[in-house]
């Protein structure tokens, strides 16, 4: 329990660092030196030191957006096994609660964006409301497969100890499809290229960045920290699946897990460097691919099991 809580705190503390890895990879591909790996901490400290300017159009709902999204991101990390350790909390159906909690965070992010009366933010909000619907369908499809394999509906039953290995035994190579589908969901939910471009400065093309245009100071800091944590959550999910081996010693496991995390963050960086953002109306098709993959994996696996 204590170990799990320490890991949880470490996860929140290290999430900004890992996100900086993506920036470093992008800089490498661009032939630049890039910003230091601690850049996100500097940004957060800078934001937390500032005051805020609020739009005259806004209501208290605007201030709820950052609070709810930060709280939700911190809570979901409580439920996910990190480095094969048991999570802090776990109960039957916790993964459904997590997905719906992320929905609540989305509700408030959208509401905060609509609160500003800005057409740009409305545009971003409409997109934010759309793509995650498909992601949720994918996630539930993956859950169905995992439930069928393990008979459980908790994250700890999929990712803690040697559970990932038994998933590999049960599903075999179709689990690669699942990992790929999860990677697409990661890119979509965390507004990365090719769905969204976190680095762009043209408001018309953005989703998440445009929704937080009006936030400033500590509010913006909370949003940033929340999105680092959310990215860390999805990365942990995939990292647990691609490093299923139990090396016997917690430190060795942690090292292996850390390496897996690096692989994922670097993959995100490479994806961002070699791909352009899709045209908006192409994005749903890209996200739907993840659903198709998950469905495919389920069908193949069930055929094997018979």
């Amino acid at each position: 329990m204590i170990k799990s809580i320490i890991l949880w705190a470490l996860a929140i503390l290290l999430a900004p660092f890992f996100s900086a890895v993506i920036l470093k990879v992008k800089a490498f591909f661009g032939g630049r030196k890039g910003s230091p790996l601690l850049i996100n901490y500097y940004t957060l400290i800078k934001l937390f030191k500032k005051g805020s300017v609020y739009s005259t159009s806004t209501t208290p709902v605007f201030k709820m957006g950052p609070i709810v999204s930060m709280a939700a991101s911190a809570i979901i990390l409580l439920f996910i096994p990190i480095a094969g350790q048991n999570p802090v909390i776990s109960f039957n159906g916790d993964i459904i609660f997590i997905l719906y909690l992320l929905g609540l965070a989305r509700f408030f992010t959208i509401a905060a964006a609509m609160d500003t009366a800005s057409p740009f933010e409305g545009m971003g909000a409409a997109r934010e409301a759309y793509f995650p619907i498909i992601c949720e369908a994918t996630m539930f499809m993956i859950l169905i497969l995992f439930y069928r394999l393990s008979g459980e509906l908790t994250l700890s039953a999929y990712l803690s100890g040697d559970q990932p290995l038994s998933l590999w035994h049960g599903a075999g190579s179709p689990l690669l499809f699942v990992i790929f589908a999860l990677f697409i969901v990661l890119l979509t939910e965390n507004s990365r290229v090719p769905v969204d471009d976190p680095a762009t400065h043209l408001e018309l093309t953005m989703i998440h960045e445009v929704m937080v245009l009006d936030h400033s100071g500590p509010d913006l800091g909370l949003i940033e920290l929340g999105s680092f944590c959310k990215l860390f959550f999805y990365s942990t999910f995939i990292a647990g699946l691609i490093s299923p081996f139990d090396l016997g010693h917690p430190l060795m496991n942690a090292a292996l897990f850390g390496a897996a995390l690096f692989v994922i963050y670097i993959s995100v960086g490479i994806t961002e460097s070699v791909m352009a953002r899709y045209r908006m109306d192409r994005v749903p098709k890209f996200v739907l691919t993840s659903f198709a993959l998950a469905l495919f994996a389920t069908i193949i696996t069930l055929e094997f099991m018979k």
């Binding site: 005259t56 109960f91 159906g93 509700f107 964006a113 609509m114 800005s118 409305g122 619907i133």
Partner: protein, 652 residues
């Protein structure tokens, strides 16, 4: 049982008194509200008492000395009675300040009369225990709600809505009559208890007939067409009662017939799950396409009926495949969603009622910024929206969570049940996402941003009797979401009274599930408060200023530039084009001196679109051919009657 009829009597007399007192407008309203709400309160307490002390109560009357009307309150009836009386109680309180036109005094009095009749007949429907009593109450319910729908009869649109509703409720009643006729034909009894003698194929037919009949009242796709017309036409507190509880009598009917027939073929569950998925997804897609606040909410009822049916269907599949925990999870989730939906839907309809009364507009595209001027209405509306999107820590999440768990039980089954469970889970996920999009649209466009018209700019929310129900209902959303234990017990009690909750040890894990939900809600609040505290510390001693919204360098923004409901939804609706065709009218700009141009768009409901070709035209053609029968000659009419009686004598 006596308390129950006392409640009915008080409600009905409260409604009837208004007719006598219609000269003094305020006094008349006070008497009506007082009578109806006292009756509802007595009924509510009585129903709660009966739900937790599960004993069946019988009562029978003799009608015309030969036909008996019998009533019975068991757990299932009591559960629905709780929803009916609770929502009606708050709706009647709401109506005191809502019915605010002294010049329409007589009409208001008539409205109260039919309102009281509607409540009384709904209560009788769910307690009736023979065919006669049931159909009698059912017809009173349909007719009284018809008169409530045409309250504003001067508008042709409302008359059309009333007519549509009239036809649908009577065609539906015809199907129910057919189902009951089949039962009577085999059992020879008017009672609701002996069905063992009916052959299996007939049972299936009875179920399909009654599913169509009750489904048309509940608003199951494609029998929902009347719903988005009738609900907006009625005054808002009536819409709240109709959408919150009246359509649930259809669900009650389906559940009652299912338990009566006592046949464990998987077909029932499959029909119900498929109907649920179709209603759920199409309902919410059409809701997303609406910009009329009340129409949107009406379509959203179709969606929620879909969720309820998915839950009940999963329960039925659980019964037929011998999986008791799946059955209990599905039924409990579905039944709890009945209660939940009646709470947040009436909350939303009443909130919409205040908005419409104060701004005079039903279109969200001319509203905006209402949260600033209507703080209580806005806040409770947001709570209702979160709850109806099924998000924690509110009540919608609890029932959907149970249905999900039931669905996942089905994933372990084989073949058809497996496929249906997968479909049910994925469609629940999609419905959840679309509901979020739909309600962020309503909240974002109507309540947030800047007012898009003068009507929305200058409003208040005076009328304490309208605000009180909103506060109570939104409190109920939170209480059920955080402490679901008691309410799950209510649903389980209701189910065990009709033999659906199996043995106590299948129910045992439920305390664990509700405990987990409470714990998760507690964690959420702890984190919310901690982040709030962190934020307060971070802002300590900082300069906080106010300025205009960042317009990305553009300095002259107008309120018309804001995203509207249409633009917000268009991206998602593009994806659903095949099932929700967008009908656009655009006069394009032509020539050197172009004329004034205009644009309009409407999301079409495919059921409504095709109803005309598939049903209305053939029926009209047939009746046109039979027109010679109706010639106006009274002698021949009497001849028809004689002939009909003689022919019948041969068969009986």
């Amino acid at each position: 049982m006596n308390h129950f009829f006392l409640a009915i009597l008080i409600i009905a007399s409260g409604g009837a008194l208004t007719l006598i007192l219609q000269k003094q407008f305020t006094f008349m309203k006070a008497v009506g509200v007082l009578g109806i709400s006292t009756g509802c309160l007595i009924g509510l307490i009585d129903a709660l008492f009966k739900l937790f002390n599960p004993v069946s109560h019988h009562l029978s009357f003799n009608y015309l000395n030969s036909l008996s009307l019998t009533f019975q309150i068991d757990g299932l009836s009591a559960f629905f009675l709780v929803a009916i009386f609770a929502v009606s109680l708050l709706a009647s309180i709401f109506s005191f300040h809502y019915m605010s036109k002294p010049e329409k005094s007589l009409r208001t009095a008539v409205n109260y009369l039919f309102f009281s009749l509607l409540i009384a007949s709904m209560a009788l429907v769910v307690t009736a225990s023979n065919i006669l009593a049931f159909m009698l109450s059912w017809e009173i319910m349909s007719l009284s709600s018809f008169f409530l729908v045409i309250y504003d009869y001067q508008s042709p649109e409302n008359r059309r809505a009333g007519y549509l509703y009239f036809i649908f409720s009577h065609v539906g009643a015809m199907f129910i009559f057919a189902a009951f006729g089949l039962i009577y034909g085999y059992t020879g009894s008017l009672g609701f208890n002996i069905t063992a003698e009916i052959p299996e194929t007939v049972k299936i037919l009875v179920f399909i007939f009654s599913f169509i009949g009750f489904g048309s009242k509940a608003g199951v796709f494609p029998f929902h067409i009347w719903l988005p017309h009738a609900h907006p036409a009625a005054p808002s507190h009536i819409s709240a009662v109709m959408s919150g509880v009246m359509i649930k009598t259809g669900i009650y009917g389906i559940l009652r017939i299912y338990t009566l027939l006592d046949l464990s073929t998987p077909l029932f569950g499959q029909i119900v799950v498929i109907a649920g998925m179709v209603s759920g997804i199409l309902g919410i897609v059409y809701a997303l396409g609406q910009n009329d606040l009340k129409r949107l909410l009406a379509y959203c009822s179709v969606e929620n009926i879909g969720i309820i049916l998915i839950g009940l269907g999963i329960g039925m599949i659980g019964v037929s495949s011998g999986n008791p925990s799946m059955a209990v999870l599905g039924f409990t989730g579905g039944l709890l969603h009945v209660l939940n939906h009646s709470i947040f839907k009436s909350l939303l309809f009443m909130g919409a009622g205040i908005v419409i009364q104060k701004t005079g507009s039903r279109s969200i595209n001319v509203l905006g910024g209402l949260l600033k001027s209507m703080k209580i209405t806005g806040t409770t509306f947001i709570i209702g929206s979160i709850a109806i999107s099924g998000l924690p820590p509110f009540n919608g999440f609890v029932s959907e969570f149970f249905i999900y768990l039931g669905g996942f039980q089905g994933v372990a089954l084989d073949k058809a049940s497996f496929v249906l469970s997968i479909l049910a889970i994925v469609s629940l996920a999609v419905i959840g996402g679309l509901a979020l999009a739909c309600f962020t649209k309503v909240v974002g466009v109507a309540f947030q941003g800047e007012p898009r018209s003068n009507a929305a700019a200058d409003v208040d929310e005076k009328g304490p009797s309208m605000l009180l129900p909103l506060i109570i209902l939104s409190g109920a959303c939170l209480v059920i979401g955080v402490l679901p234990g008691v309410f799950i017990n209510m649903a389980v009690n209701a189910l065990s009274s009709v033999g659906l909750a199996f043995t106590p040890d299948t129910i045992e894990p439920f305390t664990k599930i509700t405990g987990n939900i409470s714990m998760a809600a507690l964690i959420f609040f702890i984190f919310l408060l901690s982040v709030l505290a962190l934020r307060t510390i971070l802002y300590k001693g900082k300069t906080i200023s106010r300025s205009g919204t960042w317009g990305c360098g553009f300095t002259q923004p107008t309120v018309k530039m804001q995203y509207t409901g249409t633009s917000y939804a268009s991206f998602i609706l593009e994806f659903f084009k095949p099932i929700a065709p967008n009908h656009e009218v655009l006069k394009s700009v032509q020539g050197r001196f172009p004329e004034k141009t205009k644009y309009s768009s409407r999301i079409n409901d495919i059921a409504e679109l095709h109803m005309e070709n598939v049903i209305v035209r053939p029926v009209l053609w047939l009746f046109d051919k039979l027109r010679w029968i109706q010639h106006g000659d009274i002698h021949l009419y009497i001849g028809y009657i004689l002939l009909a009686i003689i022919v019948l004598l041969f068969f009986v």
